[in-house]
């Protein structure tokens, strides 16, 4: 039989002034299972807690009910206190007599009756509490970073610097992502390569970081501390252990295909490294372009490779690895403006280019060694138009959100053009100019002072007239249409999540918002976490942002990962669901309701009547379950139950309240 101790707190006068605490304590004595009941001025104080401990010994109490302030205030305090006694810390219930009784009622008699009722509810519930014990799950001290852009690199470096092993999985042949394509970065106009390639080299050389380039995540299972990830290594056809990156094969390779890295403005051989400063600087063979692999001809690279590193018979390999935490840094992609805005030429005019294409043009290691020329005829453009918000802030044709970084990089482009081409003129069509960062507004002012023409209005049409691109728009400040004859047009296109992001998200079991950006746990308070414990995110995969914010988030995510990996074990909350597998009929109605995908159907030995059979029953993954209880209400036989809030307890609470 339960021996319950009831302790009613005066909370100074907070409770005692409205609720007749002695009467409540007296009434508690006659409740079923109550062996001892008393009241005291400050239960949470040292003497108060000592009194409870003493009463536990004296009256051999095994369950405690405390009528005091809200459990959200002192539940932890009293649980810590019980750790010092032989009563399990979870054999405790708290009746909220202050915030939800004394402070909100005035009539003393009714408040006291309600207080007695609330104590009776807690006594009824504690009668059914079971001792709960936190369980420890081991932590694999390794982190996985998905995506090798600046976000992934920064996160990996920070984690590695904490002494933990990190694996970066990058689907391209080299890490670097979009940042390494840029020429200069705002607002300081540092050369992008100068600040990102050293980090890439650090990442490549860091003893704790292993680079898995040209690889993708195939499947993820397990839970925080114990993720089991299968990584698919795409076919490189080059053995990177033998290859020293001498580059001989690239010079001799006869086939030339469009270089994705240079945004299609130059060609690259079939066996290639995407750009000069690639890390690892070892080539891969593009199987769709290589003559040997497609038509079984050529094979020059194999012949001339001094180290015999070429292997045409390479197959896809899958490796399985254990990780303690995962950081998603899959980055962004520019939206396909050609489909959204046919009125800008829909891609027919070569001189209507995107911001990234311009970055390659102005980049010294780009296809034109930094000379800004028109892709169509190679002449230097004099009049350049930059069109902002192409696809962004346009729910009907493109995206509803603002892509955040375009205002600044468009100003940068204008500054570069005015700087590099003397006598050039730059017109920028804008709706608003957003310069929220440090030094951003001053940078925007300098650009205008350099002579950039900011025209407030949208561009309605771009068409070619003999050698010029006619840009028709309006100037809403002057209130009249405007036409600009331009040699070249740069479109500041909207940012979109990386291609095929749904697959990665689905594999990880995390969720996305309506625009397919990954859903953070809480926009303000937990921006780098996801709903699934142990999976973090950083950079533009969570939403459009510029490099400073990306790097800040990367370090934040690294800190979160380090917070997990620095422990050998992790304590899981005991208030999670568990399944009574003898009663479970394996119907799986609970599985779709779990936000954390913590429930799975497993085969277990069981009994059907008097026969031994293997049954399919539900099983809760203790690491993933956060204890919401949604599955409890979906289970018709009630055999999946949340410890600490079992169906039985809540039924007893309802009965006690309706007496």
């Amino acid at each position: 039989m339960a021996r319950i101790g009831v302790f009613i707190c005066h909370c100074g006068t907070n409770i005692a002034s409205v609720v007749d605490v002695e009467k409540v304590a007296q009434a508690a004595k006659s409740m079923p299972g109550v062996a001892f009941a008393t009241d005291y001025k400050y239960m949470c104080s040292e003497p108060g807690q000592a009194m409870i401990k003493q009463a536990i010994e004296e009256h051999h109490l095994d369950r405690i009910v405390i009528g005091s302030c809200s459990p959200r205030m002192h539940e932890l305090t009293f649980r810590k206190m019980l750790k010092a006694t032989n009563v399990n810390p979870y054999m405790l219930e708290i009746a909220n007599l202050r915030e939800q009784c004394a402070w909100v009622h005035t009539d003393r008699a009714k408040a006291t009756e309600k207080a007695i009722n609330l104590v009776r509810m807690s006594v009824a519930k504690v009668g059914n509490n079971k001792p709960l014990h936190t369980s420890m799950i081991p932590i694999t001290k390794k982190a996985l970073v998905i995506g090798g852009g600046i976000a992934g690199i920064q996160a990996a470096l920070d984690i590695a610097d904490c002494g933990f092993d990190v694996t970066i999985v990058e689907k391209e042949p080299s890490i670097g992502g979009h940042m390494v394509m840029l020429d200069k970065t705002f607002p300081t106009m540092d050369c992008s390569a100068c600040i990102s390639t050293p980090k890439m080299v650090d990442a490549g050389a860091h003893p704790n970081i292993t680079l898995k380039t040209y690889c993708e995540v195939e499947s993820v299972s397990g839970y925080i501390g114990n993720f089991e990830v299968t990584i698919k290594e795409k076919t490189k056809f080059v053995n990177h252990d033998l290859c020293t990156g001498c580059g001989l094969c690239q010079t001799k390779c006869p086939t030339k295909v469009i270089s994705e890295f240079n945004q299609g403005m130059s060609k690259r051989p079939a066996i290639y490294i995407p750009f000069a400063q690639a890390v690892p600087s070892k080539p891969v063979i593009d199987e769709n372009a290589c003559l040997k692999l497609t038509k079984d001809k050529c094979g020059i690279c194999e012949k001339i490779c001094p180290l015999g590193a070429i292997n045409y018979k390479d197959e896809v390999r899958y490796t399985k690895e254990q990780f303690g935490a995962i950081v998603v840094a899959t980055g962004y992609e520019l939206a396909d403006w050609k489909k959204m805005y046919p009125e800008y030429g829909g891609g027919r005019y070569e001189d209507v280019i995107t911001g990234l294409q311009f970055e390659r043009l102005v980049n010294a290691s780009g296809p034109t060694e930094g000379h800004i020329v028109r892709p169509s005829d190679g002449k230097e453009p004099k009049d350049v138009v930059i069109v902002k918000c192409v696809g962004s802030r346009d729910p009907k044709k493109g995206k509803s959100y603002c892509s955040r970084a375009c205002c600044m990089y468009s100003a940068k482009h204008a500054h570069q053009i005015l700087d590099k081409i003397p006598g050039s003129r730059v017109y920028i069509f804008y709706m608003d100019v957003r310069t929220p960062g440090k030094g951003y507004e001053e940078f925007y002012d300098n650009t205008r002072r350099d002579g950039a023409q900011y025209i407030r209005g949208r561009v309605s049409k771009i068409y070619k007239e003999d050698d010029k691109l006619i840009v028709k728009g309006e100037d809403s400040l002057l209130g009249r249409p405007v036409t600009v004859e331009a040699d070249m047009v740069i479109l500041a296109t909207a940012m979109e999540p990386a291609p095929k992001i749904e697959e990665v998200v689905q594999k990880l079991g995390i969720s996305m918002d309506k625009d397919k950006w990954i859903q953070e746990a809480h926009p303000k308070l937990r921006p780098v976490e996801t709903q699934s414990a142990g999976i973090f995110l950083c950079g533009t995969c969570q939403g459009p942002k510029d490099i400073p914010d990306t790097v800040a988030q990367a370090s934040a995510a690294a800190a979160k990962v380090a917070a997990i990996l620095c422990h050998d074990e992790m304590e899981t909350s005991p208030m999670i669901s568990s399944v009574d597998q003898t009663k479970c009929s394996g119907c799986g109605f609970c599985v779709p309701t779990c936000p954390y995908k913590a429930i799975s159907l497993v085969e277990v030995p069981g009994r059907d009547g008097n026969r031994k059979v293997t049954k399919k029953v539900a099983q809760v993954n203790e690491g993933l379950c956060q204890g919401c209880g949604c599955c409890n209400a979906a289970c018709r036989t009630g055999c999946i139950d949340l410890k600490g809030f079992t169906n039985d307890q809540i039924l007893k609470e309802v009965d006690a309240l309706c007496l």
Binding site: K583, S585, C587, F589, P592, D608, R636, T637, N647, L651
Partner: protein, 283 residues
């Protein structure tokens, strides 16, 4: 094929059953057989080709055959079922609820011509939805507009009238669980009502316990009821049980879009999923 008479269908059923049993792949074939009274038939489990001659087909074959497959949840051989449209919906229901495996069933589908059972007037699926072999010409299925007529009429009564009607009905209930045991949607291995330790449901047949049982079952099968009418047919005290279970189907139909159960194995149930744009009245 020409219009099949009852006798021809009966012979085809017997032939199919014999063929299935001869292959040794099927442990038994369940259908109907005669009883002492010719206006009543009972389920019959033919286990040898000779016993297949006991199988009959007439307008009194109204017992549901599908749920007997749950008698042995771990069979070593297939279980043959002679299934009309509603039985195949029951099979889909139990497969969706993971209590049956399609590969453990050998389904002989028979296009139904409507039986001596009030629910057959509102039948929406005379053609079997899933079968290994089909007997009879598939008929175009159509959902009768009288599907929720009775519910809408009942909703027009005043709340007290409705409560008084239900109170009288639940006074009659003798708590025999025939409705639960006949219902293909009620396929848990241990029903909540049999768990006295937790105390969801008392065992007495007084009005209080009957109401709790009636409403809880209406809620449990609410989004999975295949409207086969077995609960009303088997109730010894003739309670209008479908009037409870169909109510939730009507609400789901109105709130979340056209909804019918047991049409395929993979359909999601209304309470097993959500849409962020669901109608919301709790703001």
């Amino acid at each position: 094929m020409a219009e099949l008479s009852e006798a021809m269908v009966q012979d085809l059923i017997r032939a199919e059953a014999k063929k299935a049993l001869q292959t040794g792949e099927v442990s038994c074939v369940i259908g109907w057989t005669a009883t002492r009274f010719e206006d009543r038939t009972k389920p019959y489990f033919a286990q040898t080709p000779e016993e297949c001659d006991m199988l009959i087909w007439n307008r009194y074959c109204i017992n549901g055959t599908a749920k007997f497959a749950l008698d042995d949840r771990y069979p070593d051989k297939k279980f043959g079922i002679i299934a009309r449209g509603c039985d195949t919906r029951a099979i889909n229901r139990m497969i969706h609820d993971k209590q049956l495996k399609r590969e453990n069933l050998y389904i002989i589908g028979v296009v139904c011509d409507g039986k001596e059972n009030p629910v057959c007037r509102q039948c929406a699926h005379k053609t079997p939805l899933v079968c290994d072999v089909m007997i009879g010409e598939p008929v175009q299925d159509v959902i009768p507009e009288s599907r929720f007529q009775e519910i809408e009429a009942f909703e027009k009564l005043s709340p007290d009238e409705r409560y008084a009607y239900w109170a009288k009905q639940y006074d009659k209930c003798i708590h025999c669980y025939a409705c639960r045991n006949a219902c293909p949607a009620c396929n848990c291995i241990e029903c909540y009502a049999d768990q006295y330790r937790v105390g969801w449901q008392g065992k007495a047949a007084d009005r209080e316990q009957n109401q709790i049982y009636g409403l809880t079952r209406a809620y449990h099968v609410g989004d999975r009821c295949i409207e086969c009418g077995e609960c009303e047919r088997v109730c010894p005290m003739h309670l209008p049980i479908m009037r409870q279970t169909r109510k939730m189907l009507k609400d789901i139909n109105d709130l979340f879009g056209p909804y019918e159960c047991g049409l395929s194995e993979e359909e999601t149930t209304a309470l097993g999923e959500f849409k962020t744009a669901d109608p919301d009245e709790f703001m």
